[in-house]
């Protein structure tokens, strides 16, 4: 059970985004194909489909690599990830035309307007969500796979 620990860490890391992905695809099919809404969701799928699972897997491998030196709890380690992902995701979304910066706030998918005053609470909620996901789901999987 001690062989290939980094492979197991990667697989444990990509578990959550892989589970969320079918939900995103379902939302995409319902909104774009069934409801025929003029919202460019497909452009925004690139980041969650390609980048987020990869980052989750690599981040868990990094935790496994650095845990003996840092002794950082896995929840805290996971909560640091949005600090890296938020600017990256915003940059990708802006380049793809999914995210627009307006005078009063940002607009996602040309439809969902988020005022600037709510950016900070939303970011804190993302941090909290990542903390919980990493502490309870990724940490649980790491223990099950024998790498924690």
């Amino acid at each position: 059970m001690n062989s290939h620990p980094y492979l197991r860490a990667y697989l444990a890391g990509i578990f959550v985004p892989t589970l969320v992905l079918p939900i995103l695809l379902t939302v995409f099919i319902v909104v774009r194909i069934v409801l025929k809404a003029p919202v460019p969701i497909e452009q925004g799928l690139i980041f969650p489909m390609a980048v987020v699972p990869l980052l989750f897997g690599l981040w868990n491998m990094l935790w496994l690599c650095s845990h003996k030196r840092t002794h950082l709890p896995i929840g805290v380690h996971g909560a640091i990830l949005p600090l890296l992902m938020a600017p990256t995701g915003a940059l990708v979304a802006t380049c793809l035309g999914v995210l627009e910066f307006g005078p009063a706030g940002v607009v996602w998918f040309h439809a969902c307007a988020v005022p600037y005053a709510l950016i900070a609470p939303c970011f804190l909620a993302v941090l909290a969500g990542y903390y919980l996901v990493w502490k309870y789901i990724v940490g649980f999987l790491n223990r099950v796979l024998g790498i924690a």
Binding site: V16, P17, V20, I23, L24, V27, G44, F47, P48, V52, P82, M85, A86, G89, A93, V98, W108, F109, C112, A113, V114, L118, P121, C122, A125, V126, A128, G129, Y131, L132, V133, K135, Y136, G139, F140, R143, V144, A148
Partner: protein, 83 residues
């Protein structure tokens, strides 16, 4: 005389001790049970359960996220985008 005693001793011993073949061991392999018990003990010691270390603070965070999404549903695409 000695031979007689010896024969008697052999007879008594055969009566006292059952033949080896009739009690060679359990009828099934016990090793899987041992492994299963070891796994259960290791899992209990390492705390490999989903609710390991659940704290009230985590509950507050979860409630906060749900409340934010309920109050401001326009943030849902952003949450989905980052997961």
């Amino acid at each position: 005389m000695n031979e007689h005693v010896e024969e008697r001793m052999k007879k008594l011993l055969r009566q006292a001790l059952p033949p080896m073949n009739s009690d060679a061991g359990p009828g099934r392999d016990l090793w899987p049970d041992v492994l299963r018990r070891l796994d259960v003990n290791l899992a209990a010691k390492s705390g490999a359960s989903f609710s390991h270390g659940w704290a009230w603070f985590d509950g507050v965070l979860a409630v906060g996220i749900v409340a934010l999404v309920a109050i401001f549903p326009a943030a849902i695409p952003m949450f989905l985008y980052y997961f």
